[in-house]
C-alpha cells in the first residue's frame, strides 16, 4: 500500500533572491509530527533563528495543511501558519478553516510552504500546480483585503485560493491579520504585518493534482458510518441554519434571517459556519459582507454601537484594512479612557474618540492603518501606548496577556466569568490570549462532573489521568473537584491532534470526532500505522517542541503570569462552585498545567528526560 493523504512536497520560497525550490516531504519527519500543525511547528522550529525580529526578512512564514486535507472527511480543510508574531513576540500558531485555499494548496501538490526573505517591491506569490511564480503586485498594493481578493479572482477566475492582507498589514500595524478567501481570518497577533514586512501582498493557489487515499475500502467503511452519525444528529439543521447565533441572544433571529444571504462552508464541511449577509435597509442598504461568523460583525455593538447596520458597515471597513477588530476596539476603549483623563493631551486628539460612533471608529481605523498623528502611536498596540504614556496609563489598561487583550474575562468584551480551560488557556497558549486551542467540556457552564469522563475519552485523555483531572469523582468520601490546569493540557493535546490531521477544531464539528477515530482515519488515508497512544505521544512531542521554540526566544513563566486585574472585583469564578477564584488558585492551575505535560512545575521548562523520551533531544 502506498502512502496517501500527503501531497509529498514542501515548497520553499525566498523572496529576497527569488529562489523557489520544491523539496520532497520527509516522510519520517511527517510521521513523527503527524503532519499539518505538528509538522508546521517542526519546520518553523528548524527555520526560525532564535531572537529574530518578527518583522525582519529572516522571520519565516511556515504554512501547512494536514494529510486529511483534500479528502471528503468532514471539515478537513484546515490551514495553519506558524511564525514569530509581532504583538506577542512569541512563536505561535495561526489557524483558519481553510475555505478553498486548504484543498487547493494540497491539490497543487504541497503539504507545506516556507516563505523567507523580503521582496524589493510589492509582490504576490502565484502557485498553479508545479508553476510557482513571484509576481508584481504594484496594482494590488494599497488595496483592502477584500478588494485584493476580488481583483485576484478577476485575474485568475475560480476556484483560486487567496490569502491576503489589507493596508494595515502593508503599514506594519502589529495587530493586522490575513484573510483566507476573503471570508476567514488568519493570524491574530500580526500575520498581516509579517506579510507586509515581506512586501508580500497575497498568496494565490490553484491545484488539480488530486489527493489519494491509501486504503480506499477501509476509508469508505469508516467515512460512511461517520457521515451517517452526523446526518442523524438531531441539531444538525439548527447548526447549519443558525450556528453560533443560536447561543447569542444579542442577535435576534429575525434580524439574522432578514439579512442572511448565504452560509459558506469550508471545503468538505457539512456544517458551514461562515456567513454572507446583506444589509436590507437603511443608509447602508445593499452592503454585502462576507464573514467568518455574523457574530464578528457585532463586535462594535459590544463596544456601544446602537445600530447593527452601522456595526456591520464599521466591520466592513476594519476588515478591508485588515485590522484585528477585537484588538482595535479594545485599544480604542483604552485610548478613550486616556483621553477622558487627560493622559492623552487634548492637542494630540485630532478627532474625538467615541467607541459607539461609526464616524469616529472609521476615522480612527483609518488613522491607525495609515499611521497618521496619534494613530501612529495607537498603531503600536497596547505596548506602544503604555511606552508612550507611561505608568499613569497603566491604571486604565485592560488586563493584558503577552501584550494583547484577552477575549474573555472581567473587563473584557465577553464577560464569561466561570474559569474553565478556555479562560485559563488565554495565558498558556504560546501565541497570546486566544481561546481556539483550549476547548473542553468547560465550554458549557456548570456541566456536572459525571459527564466529563466521556468527553475526556473522546479527546484522547489516557484513563490514568482521569483521577488527576477529576479527583474525588469515584470516592464518595472526597469532595469532587475539577483541575482546570490539568484538563487544559489535554485540550491543547486534542487541538494538536485535530490540527495535525487537518480537522477543524470548532466545537460544532470536532464534537463528532474522537481520538480513536482520528487514528483510524489517519491510517486509512495515509497507510501509516497509528493508534491513540501514538497520536498522544506525537501531540506531546509537537506541543512540547512549540514550548521549546518559545523558551529559546526567552519566554518564561513570568510572561504567562495571570493578569492581576482579573482578580480584583468582580473577578473570575470557579467553574464548579461559582465561588470567587483567587490568584493563588489560578497560579496553582498553571503549575498543574506544566506538570501534566511533564514540564518543570515552577518554570514550565521541559526536563531533559522528557525531551529524551519524546525524541526531542537533538533539537
Amino acid at each position: 500500500m502506498s502512502v496517501g493523504g500527503f501531497a509529498d512536497r514542501v515548497l520553499h520560497v525566498d523572496l529576497t533572491d527569488g529562489r523557489i525550490d520544491k523539496h520532497p516531504l520527509d516522510l519520517d519527519l511527517a510521521q513523527r509530527f503527524i503532519g499539518g500543525l505538528g509538522l508546521t511547528i517542526k519546520l518553523a522550529y528548524d527555520t526560525i533563528l532564535p531572537g529574530t525580529d518578527p518583522l525582519s526578512p529572516e522571520n519565516p512564514i511556515v504554512l501547512g495543511a494536514g494529510p486529511l486535507v483534500g479528502t471528503n472527511l468532514p471539515s478537513t480543510s484546515r490551514l495553519y501558519a506558524v511564525t514569530k508574531l509581532p504583538t506577542s513576540g512569541t512563536i505561535g500558531w495561526c489557524g483558519s478553516g481553510g475555505v478553498n485555499f486548504g484543498y487547493l494548496f494540497k491539490n497543487a501538490g504541497y503539504d507545506h510552504l516556507i516563505i523567507k526573505g523580503r521582496a524589493d517591491r510589492p509582490v504576490y506569490l502565484k502557485i498553479i500546480d508545479d508553476e510557482v511564480e513571484i509576481c508584481d503586485a504594484a496594482h494590488l498594493w494599497g488595496k483592502g483585503a477584500e478588494e485584493t481578493s476580488e481583483a485576484l479572482w478577476m485575474e485568475l477566475g475560480h476556484p483560486t485560493g487567496v490569502m491576503t492582507m489589507g493596508q494595515a498589514g502593508e503599514n506594519l500595524v502589529p495587530f493586522s491579520i490575513a484573510f483566507i478567501d476573503r471570508i476567514a481570518t488568519l493570524g491574530r497577533g500580526g500575520l498581516g504585518a509579517i506579510m507586509g514586512a515581506k512586501n508580500l501582498k497575497a498568496i494565490v493557489v490553484k491545484g488539480t493534482r488530486g489527493i489519494k487515499v491509501a486504503d480506499r475500502k477501509r476509508y469508505k467503511g469508516l467515512s460512511e458510518d461517520f457521515l451517517q452519525t452526523i446526518r442523524s444528529y438531531p441539531y444538525l439543521k439548527e447548526w447549519q441554519d443558525l450556528g453560533l447565533v443560536k447561543s447569542f441572544p444579542m442577535i435576534p433571529k429575525e434580524t439574522y434571517y432578514g439579512m442572511k444571504k448565504r452560509r459558506i462552508a469550508c471545503v468538505s464541511c457539512p456544517i458551514g459556519c461562515k456567513d454572507v449577509i446583506e444589509i436590507p435597509d437603511g443608509d447602508f442598504k445593499g452592503l454585502v459582507k462576507c464573514t467568518s461568523s455574523v457574530l464578528n460583525l457585532y463586535t462594535p455593538v459590544l463596544y456601544g454601537f446602537k445600530d447593527h447596520r452601522e456595526s456591520i458597515r464599521c466591520m466592513a471597513t476594519i476588515d478591508q484594512y485588515g485590522l484585528d477588530a477585537f484588538e482595535f476596539f479594545g485599544l480604542m476603549s483604552f485610548a478613550k479612557a486616556l483621553a477622558d483623563h487627560g493622559i492623552i493631551p487634548p492637542e494630540q486628539l485630532d478627532e474625538e474618540i467615541a467607541t459607539d460612533s461609526l464616524a469616529s471608529m472609521e476615522g480612527w481605523a483609518r488613522k491607525i492603518t495609515y499611521r497618521e498623528g496619534l494613530g501612529d502611536i495607537l498603531a503600536r498596540g497596547f505596548k506602544g501606548i503604555l511606552e508612550e504614556f507611561g505608568k499613569e496609563a497603566e491604571t486604565y489598561a485592560p488586563p493584558l496577556v503577552k501584550g494583547m487583550q484577552p477575549y474573555v474575562g472581567p473587563g473584557a468584551a465577553l464577560s464569561w466569568d466561570l474559569f474553565g480551560t478556555m479562560e485559563l488557556g488565554q495565558v498558556l497558549d504560546p501565541r497570546g490570549p486566544h481561546v481556539g486551542a483550549s476547548g473542553s467540556p468547560t465550554y458549557f457552564d456548570r456541566r456536572p462532573l459525571e459527564v466529563f469522563p466521556r468527553h475526556l475519552t473522546r479527546m484522547g485523555v489516557p484513563e490514568e489521568a482521569f483521577e488527576r483531572i477529576l479527583p474525588g469523582l469515584n470516592s464518595p468520601d472526597q469532595e469532587e473537584e475539577l483541575r482546570v490546569g490539568r484538563l487544559l493540557k489535554y485540550s491543547h493535546a486534542w487541538f494538536s491532534i485535530l490540527g495535525s490531521l487537518g480537522i477543524c477544531a470548532r466545537g460544532a464539528i470536532n464534537r463528532f470526532y474522537n481520538a480513536s477515530l482520528c487514528a483510524q482515519f489517519y491510517e486509512a488515508v495515509t497507510g501509516i500505522e497509528m493508534d491513540v497512544d501514538q497520536l498522544r505521544r506525537r501531540a506531546d512531542r509537537l506541543w512540547t517542541l512549540l514550548r521549546m521554540a518559545n523558551i529559546r526566544e526567552g519566554l518564561d513563566q513570568k510572561a504567562e503570569a495571570l493578569p492581576h486585574k482579573w482578580f480584583s472585583k468582580p473577578g473570575f469564578k470557579r467553574y464548579t462552585t461559582e465561588e470567587p477564584l483567587g490568584l493563588q488558585e489560578g497560579e496553582e492551575m498553571i503549575e498543574d498545567y506544566y506538570d501534566e505535560w511533564g514540564w518543570e512545575r515552577k518554570t514550565g521548562i521541559p526536563s531533559p528526560q522528557l525531551l529524551e523520551k519524546l525524541g526531542l533531544k537533538e533539537n
Binding site: N72, N100, R182, R209, G210, I230, R262, C269, P270, V288
Partner: protein, 79 residues
C-alpha cells in the same frame, strides 16, 4: 440518460464541494474536484452550479450534499 433527475437550489449551496469531492473520487479513485462532473462556484452572495457533459446522473453527488442544495428524483422510465 441516468437514473435520476437532479434539481439544484443555489440559495442553499454553501460551496462545500462535497459533491465535487464525491463525484471525482467515484470516477477517478482520487479526490480531485477539478475532475468532477459537477462544478460549483460560490463567491459572496453569488453561486453557480453546473453539470459537465459527461455527468451520467448517477446521483451520488446528491447523497453527499448536506445542505439540500442538490436533490434527486427517479426518472419515470426507471420507476
Amino acid at each position: 440518460m441516468g437514473k435520476y433527475e437532479i434539481q439544484t437550489s443555489k440559495a442553499k449551496c454553501t460551496g462545500c464541494l462535497r459533491c465535487q469531492l464525491a463525484c471525482s473520487e467515484l470516477y477517478t479513485k482520487v479526490f480531485n474536484p477539478s475532475q468532477a462532473r459537477i462544478r460549483v462556484v460560490t463567491s459572496g452572495a453569488d453561486c453557480s452550479i453546473r453539470f459537465e457533459e459527461d455527468c451520467n446522473d448517477c446521483g451520488i453527488c446528491v447523497d453527499h450534499c448536506f445542505f439540500d442544495a442538490l436533490t434527486k428524483t427517479k426518472r419515470e422510465s426507471d420507476k
